[in-house]
């Protein structure tokens, strides 16, 4: 099925809400979006074989038996390994490529959800939707997006998380794309009373990587902790749009994002927090810091705070800067070569974001991937 979607059609498909705000949110990604809209895509092959190199990237020993693998957006029986997923977790696939996951009760070890994109003979597209319900207890989901080197694949994923009252979800998301691949993600989460969503997002690479994270703090004392970092090089383009709505009393959000861009990469961070009327006693904190490693890289950041309630505590700040030359010289003066000194400082810059990942092994893996995503030369 070949299709030639125009930019407007693509916007309609990817966008939502009223036309003005929708177009506005794509302001910095227009060029990347137009390039996609002018390209012919065939439907991506759901039965495609995964190359060994890709398999190795997600075959982590600690998630064997608890792994859900989707190939080009479609649940793959062949690559999934759900032997260890008990009655408390159910994963399935329904019409329209929507696969629901339901987690009931404390399930201990994390569930690993892998989205692998593999190329067809021509540029290809896939679309998928997922619904995740945390009905009770505490759960951890590791989400991983990856694509074969050189894969001209454009994926769109919609995902809805429903956190029932009193539940907690730790969501750790690693998205690594080659410069040839594009991904659009719309993540909607509804957090119930006294429930907590702790999310860590690592975004690496991609010709266009757009992530809309919309979180409704819907019940009293609902809480969001969002940590995230993008690390970009070459002509990578990442566009992150956070939209957090405090809809009930005593809700809290704590958002810390970092961005690093080298060479000709482009990064966008838009962090909007709305405290609705009646959501008194809410607490909102947003910090976004960015690092430009090259004069040709660009990062745009925009924190937006709208408050319609009383007795709200809110703080936000955003910066774009460069590596501290004084610190670089200090490291070099002790014998550390320039390239390593830069790497140490970039890693340090990102470390605050990853510090919240409790599993040391996983934290180290994320840090390594982020470091690998940046050029090693000075």
């Amino acid at each position: 099925m070949a299709s030639v979607p125009h930019e407007r059609d693509l916007l309609d498909e990817l966008g939502r809400g009223d036309a003005g705000a929708r177009a506005e949110s794509w302001r910095y990604s227009k060029t990347a979006l137009r390039a996609l809209s002018q390209q012919d895509f065939v439907a991506a092959d759901a039965q495609a074989e995964l190359p060994a190199a890709l398999l190795a990237q997600f075959d982590w020993p600690q998630t064997r038996g608890r792994r859900v693998v989707l190939v080009n957006g479609t649940l793959s029986e062949r690559y999934s390994d759900m032997a260890g997923i008990g009655a408390s977790i159910t994963a399935g696939v329904s019409a329209d490529n929507v696969y629901p996951i339901r987690i009931d009760g404390d399930v201990g070890a994390p569930v690993h959800v892998v989205h692998a994109s593999v190329p067809s003979a021509q540029a290809s597209r896939w679309r998928a939707s997922a619904e995740v319900t945390i009905a009770s207890g505490r759960a951890c989901i590791i989400e991983q997006h990856l694509a074969a080197e050189g894969a001209a694949v454009f994926g769109s994923l919609q995902r809805r998380y429903e956190l029932a009252a009193g539940t907690q979800l730790d969501l750790i998301s690693l998205c690594e794309l080659p410069e040839s691949a594009a991904l659009y993600r719309l993540i909607e989460a509804r957090v119930g009373a006294k429930a907590t969503l702790r999310a860590t997002h690592v975004l690496l690479g991609g010709r266009l990587q757009r992530m809309d994270l919309q979180v409704d703090l819907a019940g009293p004392e609902a809480r969001l902790e969002s940590r995230g970092v993008f690390a970009l090089r070459g002509r990578d383009h990442a566009d992150t749009q956070l939209d957090v709505r405090h809809l009930a009393r005593d809700t809290a959000c704590d958002i810390v994002w970092r961005g690093v861009a080298d060479q000709r990469a482009r990064g966008i961070f838009h962090g909007a927090i709305t405290v609705a009327a009646g959501a008194d006693g809410s607490d909102a904190v947003l910090s976004n810091k960015n690092l430009l490693l090259s004069p040709n890289a660009e990062i745009d950041t925009q924190p937006v705070l709208e408050i319609y309630a009383d007795e709200v505590k809110a703080a936000h700040g955003a910066t774009v800067g460069q590596l501290d030359e004084r610190a670089l010289f200090y490291l070099r003066s002790r014998g550390i070569p320039l390239a390593e000194a830069r790497r140490m400082m970039v890693t340090a810059f990102c470390s605050e974001v990853l510090a919240g990942v409790a599993d040391a092994d996983l934290r180290e893996r994320l840090a390594q991937r982020a470091q690998a995503a940046l050029p090693t030369s000075a």
């Binding site: 501290d324 200090y330 490291l331 003066s333 002790r334 014998g335 550390i336 070569p337 140490m344 810059f349």
Partner: protein, 258 residues
């Protein structure tokens, strides 16, 4: 070991060093004293290879090599160490990790085997004891949240660990109380050896009561105007820098620098 000849250095278009010459041999301790603005810190920075210091004339030869040709990290690996006047805080970079990376980078440069973490920690514990630094500082980020005294002691601790051949101390005494000053001096004195030289840059003579130099040089308006033994430091303490200005600078010049 270190031979500086007729060194002229510009910073932001302004000439700061105006023909400085200095000869330091292995085993010697040289003190560089001088009023504020004389160019003391410029000397340390230019030797360590900081950017923004333009050498317009003269030469610096260290162990037979042209020091000015080397990158800062190469100078360090060749044995040059600068104890900073204002040590830099580097959030997120763990102190132990930093020190081990530095030591092993230097060893690698010199073709020596890198130290594993056990060997490294053994060495660290020995040196910590000398400087009376708490173990806990190792687990923190580089200089982050350190008191002024801790930062300065951390510089000397790094020096002890890296065992340079030429150590330049840039106003390491500034902001130290008498106890910290003694610890710093003990750290330096413990390292004095026939193979190692020190360049101690200071504004006050006080530090030199504890680190007794072989030579004292007075730097004023970008040149060394007077050299002598440790006694020169005491004379300066007695008479002040104005005394030097009167003796060496034409009328009208120098007063501004003091």
């Amino acid at each position: 070991m270190l031979k500086i000849e007729n060194l002229h250095v510009r910073v932001a278009g302004k000439e700061i060093l105006k023909g400085l010459s200095l000869d330091v041999k292995a085993g010697e301790v040289h003190a560089i004293m001088g009023p504020n603005g004389a160019g003391k810190s410029t000397l340390g920075n230019v030797l360590a290879g900081r950017e923004g210091y333009e050498v317009t004339q003269g030469s610096v030869v260290f162990e037979g090599r042209n020091l000015l040709d080397l990158e800062p990290e190469q100078r360090a690996a060749e044995g040059v160490f600068l104890a900073f006047q204002y040590p830099v805080e580097i959030p997120g970079v763990n102190n132990t990790y930093f020190l081990r990376a530095a030591l092993n980078a230097q060893r690698k440069h010199r073709g020596e085997a890198e130290l594993d973490s056990m060997q490294f920690l053994k060495r660290v514990r020995e040196k910590l004891a000398v400087l009376h630094l708490k173990d806990e500082l190792l687990h923190r980020a580089v200089n982050e949240g350190f008191s002024g005294g801790e930062k300065k002691r951390n510089e000397i601790f790094q020096m002890a660990l890296l065992e340079p051949r030429l150590a330049i101390l840039d106003e390491t005494d500034s902001g130290l109380d008498i106890d910290a000053l003694k610890m710093v001096a003990d750290g330096v004195n413990a390292m004095r050896s026939p193979e190692r030289a020190f360049l101690v840059v200071t504004h006050y003579q006080r530090l030199l009561d504890y680190i007794v130099p072989d030579f004292v040089h007075v730097l004023a308006d970008g040149v060394i105007v007077e050299s002598g033994d440790a006694g020169l430091a005491h004379k300066l303490e007695e008479h002040g820098y104005a005394w030097i200005a009167e003796r060496h600078l034409p009328a009208g010049a120098g007063a501004g620098a003091a």
